[in-house]
């Protein structure tokens, strides 16, 4: 089924129910449906055709939800871009996907103006939620919603592209991940089945809607007729937790850096979490020490440790009943899909052997927009069956029951003195040290070792010293895995989607 039809169906069943909560604004399913019809009609009238790209450059707000469904109703492809993106990267994306329209909020308008100035050949229609002096010809979002009537193009089908989401490649330019309506339909059905989502759920989304994991919350919530509470960020944890309590939130998707922030709070009241059924964690591995502390703090909340990437939305989930037993594992393939750990030739390796995780199923991407080379690299046939599989570039090992455990990004391996070190292994040891809130381990050029390990640490107390850290590491790790240098930081570099970024920490790129 096409994604906008999930909204149509939920609107038939729950027209008056609140679909989106955004601050004081509550948007019903009927309003979400009508507003997206209006904007879809405007897009169609202004030359946006089936298959055209529409850049969505806006933070978490009800308007952004409207834009997604409007773009799909118009038969176009949504290209969400994180609102903190700088003009240079936005200009690259505009030049790459040549959008027919751009929708931006107040924060993004100046960046859009800069990015368009760098792309004189691009002439997209621009819609702004608030006027900006540098974009005088832009249409007003609120007025666009009044356009009508809207009529659906009967030619639209499930195999049309729904989204192109640009991700940071480990090297070079961002790559646009193409997902069809059928891919997203399959992924959301699978996720809903294992999380047990239903119309009584209230899901809190502080993750950017421009990020696969954040967008998935909107898509699953609308699909089951639930309520989505949008928050712009986790910047004010105490305020967000209060909001969670007031709205009776049942599901709270998080990333490990948010969990670190949560565990850092001095006086956390478990009563705020009374109505919460589950927390999910994805986007980066959750340190085992944090899993244990979160479980101790919130024993009645189901904790889902998951793994995914934009290229397949989600690949694995660990059933929450297993988390105390195998806290380091990210579990098994999501329902209706398959995973394997393979060697360089693509053949499955024995349990316990480290290899690359490959994913197959109806949820894997079509490829990278305008980038056949990268597509061929990521989507390769199974040498036995010819089935096209997604190569994740992430190293895992499987146990005898098929549960997989993340080891490292393929290209994160640091070679020091001839030894191969997965930085995550050292970070995991660092997290076991009391007072370590966040940690990243990077390789520094070293004349003798090739690369030497540097630990970058955010500490909760000034009393933690480099000597403490090194002593602890020497106790926990092989000699060659003990960092040569310890740096205490106020904060660690994160990507636009909030993941701790080893690449940025080692000076290998700019924030996307």
């Amino acid at each position: 089924m096409r994604i906008e039809n999930h909204l149509r169906r939920s609107c038939l069943l729950h027209a008056g129910k609140t679909a989106i909560v955004d601050g004081a604004r509550r948007v019903s399913y009927a309003e979400l449906s009508d507003a997206s019809d209006g904007l879809a009609a405007w897009l169609a009238e202004n030359g946006v055709c089936r298959g055209d790209r529409v850049v969505v450059f806006a933070g978490n707000g009800w308007q952004t939800a409207v834009v997604f469904y409007a773009v799909w109703k118009a038969g176009a492809v949504a290209c969400p871009v994180n609102p903190s993106t700088r003009a240079k990267r936005l200009a690259f994306i505009i030049a790459d996907c040549l959008p027919a329209a751009i929708v931006a909020d107040a924060r993004g308008a100046a960046t859009v103006a800069d990015a368009l100035a760098a792309n004189p050949q691009a002439r997209p229609a621009v819609i702004l939620t608030r006027p900006h002096p540098r974009l005088p010809e832009a249409a007003d979002f609120a007025q666009c919603l009044e356009t009508g009537p809207f009529s659906t193009d009967p030619a639209l089908c499930d195999s049309d592209l729904a989204t192109i989401i640009y991700t940071s490649g480990s090297t070079g330019d961002p790559k646009g991940v193409m997902m069809g309506h059928d891919n997203i339909d399959a992924a959301t059905a699978s996720i809903i089945s294992y999380l047990g989502n239903g119309e009584n759920d209230v899901i809190l989304d502080v993750l950017p809607l421009s990020f696969g994991y954040g967008l998935t919350q909107l898509l699953t919530s609308v699909r089951v007729g639930a309520t989505l509470v949008l928050e712009k960020s986790f910047a004010y944890p105490a305020a967000v937790l209060q909001r969670m309590h007031e709205e009776g939130v049942t599901g709270f998707p998080m990333v490990p850096s948010m969990i670190a922030l949560l565990l850092r709070m001095e006086a956390l009241d478990p009563a705020l979490f009374a109505g919460l059924r589950y927390i999910t964690s994805a986007a980066a591995p959750l340190p085992v020490a944090h899993i244990r502390r979160l479980r101790a703090l919130l024993p009645d909340v189901q904790l889902y440790s998951m793994y995914g990437q934009t290229e397949c939305v989600r690949a694995t989930w660990l059933p929450p009943d297993d988390i105390d037993l195998r806290p380091a594992s990210t579990g098994i393939a999501i329902p209706g899909t398959a995973i394997q750990v393979v060697d360089e030739a693509g053949h499955e390796v024995a349990p316990g052997t480290v290899g690359e995780l490959v994913v197959s199923g109806p949820h894997i991407m079509r490829g990278y927009w305008n980038n056949a080379v990268a597509t061929e690299e990521a989507l390769r046939p199974d040498p036995l069956t010819g089935t096209r599989r997604l190569h994740t570039g992430d190293l895992f090992f499987a146990d005898g029951d098929g549960h997989v455990t993340f080891v490292s990004r393929k290209d994160d391996i640091i070679k020091t003195g001839g030894f191969k070190v997965a930085p995550r292994e050292v970070e995991s040891a660092l997290y076991d040290l009391e007072g370590v809130v966040e940690a990243l381990v990077v390789g520094m050029p070293d004349p003798v070792l090739g690369e030497a390990l540097k630990a970058m640490i955010v500490a909760s107390a000034d009393t933690l010293t480099a000597e403490d850290v090194l002593r602890h590491c020497a106790r926990m790790l092989n000699d060659f895995m003990v960092p040569r240098q310890v740096e205490f930081c106020q904060a660690l570099p994160k990507t636009g989607s909030g993941k701790l970024s080893r690449r940025l920490a080692s000076g290998g790129g700019t924030t996307p």
Partner: protein
């Protein structure tokens, strides 16, 4: 409260959250979150700026919109902290 404090906060916000774009008016009561001027990293940057630039100690419980979500609120927060 002093205009100098307000100015220092305003300059910080324009430089760090608007990337130097001072083409839009930035009234003292404008909500920084509602207008997408700061995100979670931004708040941590703002807290560091207050600690380093004004010599304050900001506790977890202080990091709420009532204290930090507009230039006026930040200025009033600095004043309260300094008085305490």
């Amino acid at each position: 409260m002093s205009d100098a404090v307000q100015m220092k906060i305003r300059d910080f916000i324009i430089e760090n959250f608007l990337f130097g774009d001072d083409s839009q008016p930035l009234p003292g009561d404008l909500s920084l979150m509602e207008n997408d001027l700061v995100d979670s990293t931004g708040i941590l940057e703002l807290v560091s700026f207050l600690e380093e630039g004004f010599g304050l100690k900001v506790a977890d419980a202080d990091i709420v919109p009532a204290n930090l979500d507009s230039i006026d609120r930040i200025a009033a927060f600095i004043e309260r902290k300094k008085a305490a």
